[in-house]
């Protein structure tokens, strides 16, 4: 009942176009993550949906109803702001209660509503405090509680974990999906953190410069990024990107890496003879014996254990650096000469000039971008 549809939205500030003919549909109950660098237009988009700013062109539908000209208070959305935007002259309780007051709920209902959501978010003990007496984590939860308390059909969360410490962010990343799922609300979630995006989103819309560059499930975005930019944004360590020029021989399409011809099964024909960039996710590379076919000779430069994984920096014969990651506890190479095997299926080929992935099935058309 509360799908969100944006149709051909244009938003300009002075001469600058912040959102450029953007269309997007978020299904009822779906959690859509807006992901992208700052300045991409994510927050603007969220505010357009909330109704606190107006689009220059285009329509906004919520639950199938045209809300473009409807004031914020009638749109039935809840929103948590990145900077919390708590009311400094009200206690946490009063802050959280505001949506209920707007509905003219009874005192009892307000008290009950606030208490239950505060309990859920574990801030019951600070409800009487003014915002300035709250820690950042408590502020964040208060802001979230305020967005949730009215059980709005649409929830807009603007990078709510941005200003909290790492530990809390980690906890919340685990808590939030369940919390959101319980509510059954349609959620639009803005973040600059790809892990958050992957963890929370039913789908992710990758934005930059006012345009949705790719829209898809986390899996799709990760496996089949539309371009180099997106490939680079997702994944830690970042994807390895090496200039190549695919050729064809009898065995199929291959690229030259470290003076070794690596064949890429299933690589698109269109790549042949073009200046390309090959994208290799660190976790798709494995150390292998020299004898393995297509094994690339490298020199191990450094090894860094990173929590659950170990990241190794290696250098190809031509001096290019590659990162390899493997789960902790698995054998690896900590120095000297080594060889790498490339998982041909997961290798990504991008056009060097445009940055687009070659043979991408999943690129969102930039102009009329209803995703398949």
């Amino acid at each position: 009942m509360a799908s969100v549809e944006l149709k051909n939205i244009v938003k300009r500030y002075k001469s600058q176009t912040v959102l450029d003919d953007l269309s997007l549909t978020v299904a009822d109950g779906e959690t859509l993550v807006l992901f992208g660098p700052s300045g991409a237009g994510k927050t603007v988009l969220l505010r357009l949906v909330a109704g606190v700013i107006d689009p220059d062109e285009g329509r906004i539908l919520i639950g199938g109803e045209d809300m473009t000209d409807v004031d914020a208070e009638f749109r039935g959305v809840g929103m948590a702001f990145q900077n919390f935007a708590l009311f400094p002259h009200m206690s946490a309780f009063e802050n959280i209660a505001t949506p209920l007051e707007a509905k003219r709920s009874s005192h009892g209902a307000i008290k009950g509503g606030v208490d239950s959501v505060a309990k859920l978010l574990k801030i019951g003990h600070v409800l009487s405090h003014k915002p300035r007496a709250l820690s950042n984590g408590q502020k964040q939860r208060t802001a979230l509680a305020r967005a949730l308390v009215g059980s709005p059909p649409v929830l807009l969360l603007d990078d709510p974990l941005r200003n909290v410490d790492a530990k809390l962010r980690f906890e919340m990343r685990l808590e939030l999906p369940r919390l959101l799922a319980d509510r059954g609300a349609t959620v639009i979630y803005v973040t600059q953190d790809y892990k958050e995006a992957m963890a929370l989103g039913d789908r992710i819309a990758v934005m930059s410069q006012g345009v949705i560059r790719q829209l898809g499930t986390p899996e799709q975005i990760y496996r089949e990024p539309a371009n180099i930019e997106i490939a680079r944004l997702f994944g830690d360590p970042t994807i390895n990107l090496l200039d190549v020029k695919p050729q064809r021989d009898a065995r199929g399409i291959y690229v030259g890496l470290s003076n070794v011809q690596v064949h890429l099964a299933g690589a698109p024909e269109a790549a042949i003879g073009r200046d390309c960039v090959i994208g290799l996710r660190p976790e798709t590379l494995h150390f292998v014996a020299e004898s393995e076919p297509g094994a690339i000779p490298v020199t191990v430069e450094a090894e860094t254990p990173l929590n659950e994984k170990i990241v190794t920096l290696v250098r190809t014969v031509r001096g290019r650096e590659i990162l390899v990651s493997r789960p902790s506890g698995t054998p690896g190479q900590s120095g000297g000469k080594a060889h790498l095997a490339v998982n041909a299926k997961s290798a990504l080929l991008f056009d060097h000039a445009s940055g687009e992935r070659i043979g991408s099935k999943n690129i969102v058309s930039l102009r009329n971008g209803e995703a398949a």
């Binding site: 004031d71 900077n83 935007a85 400094p88 505001t98």
Partner: protein, 285 residues
Amino acid sequence: MEHTSLLERVLRGIALTLVVVFFMFPIVWIFMMSFQTNEMILRIPPQLVFEPTLANYTALITGKLQTAAGTLDIAFMRNLWNSIFLSVTSVAVALLLGVPAAYAFARHKFRGSEDIAFTLLSFRFAPALLVLLPLTLYFQKLGLANTYFGLIWVYQLICLPLILWIVRGYFEDIPADIEYAYRIAGHSWFATFRKIALPLAGPGIAAAGLLAFIFAWNNFVFALVLASADKQPVTVGALAFITSSGIQYGQISAAIVLSITPTLALALYAQRYLVEGLSLGAVKG
């Protein structure tokens, strides 16, 4: 500032003392003169020791003034009341009109908003003298001459621009997100204005209101030209002690003391708002 050195604290103390002496000495002197007769005031050289008398205040409050030229009737208390009425009403009207307008300029950038705001400000730099003659003529025609209504209207020239521009700055200092949050929570713009913007800009509104009050209080050209004797403010009233038989410094001093008192009381009452500034530190990070 906890680690200020002793030297610095001493220097600060000296500086502050000098400031207080410079600004307060004339006030203290005026206060002292208000308890002296003209004869005591006009001594050569001036003296610190004197026999205090309440005669000046008695004269002001009872409205009977003894001078070399006999007993004069004075309407000082009436003037004082006029000042209070004119200033309070003018500032109240200016707040009623100016605060929403300031809010509009701060929050809703609309076509021509800067021009309108500037136009409103520009009334402040039309010198009173420039508009005095035509204003008197038109007031005469409109029947506004010699009415409190007309005066309060003209007083808006003093109060409104000041309130508008100071309060506007305070509104702009409130992060827009705070207001958005309230709107999204389901409240109308008016509720947002009332429950969020007004309380948060409260100190600014208080400061602007007090300053406007002071400027309205100190003005007298408009009342002098546009109204008859029974509507004159305290400033004109105090000038009545410049009599043909001499300037009654004692009474003028008492008049100044009495005319400062209501404003001072107001300022002390609103002190918290005046000098606390915006308490948005928590929000602004």
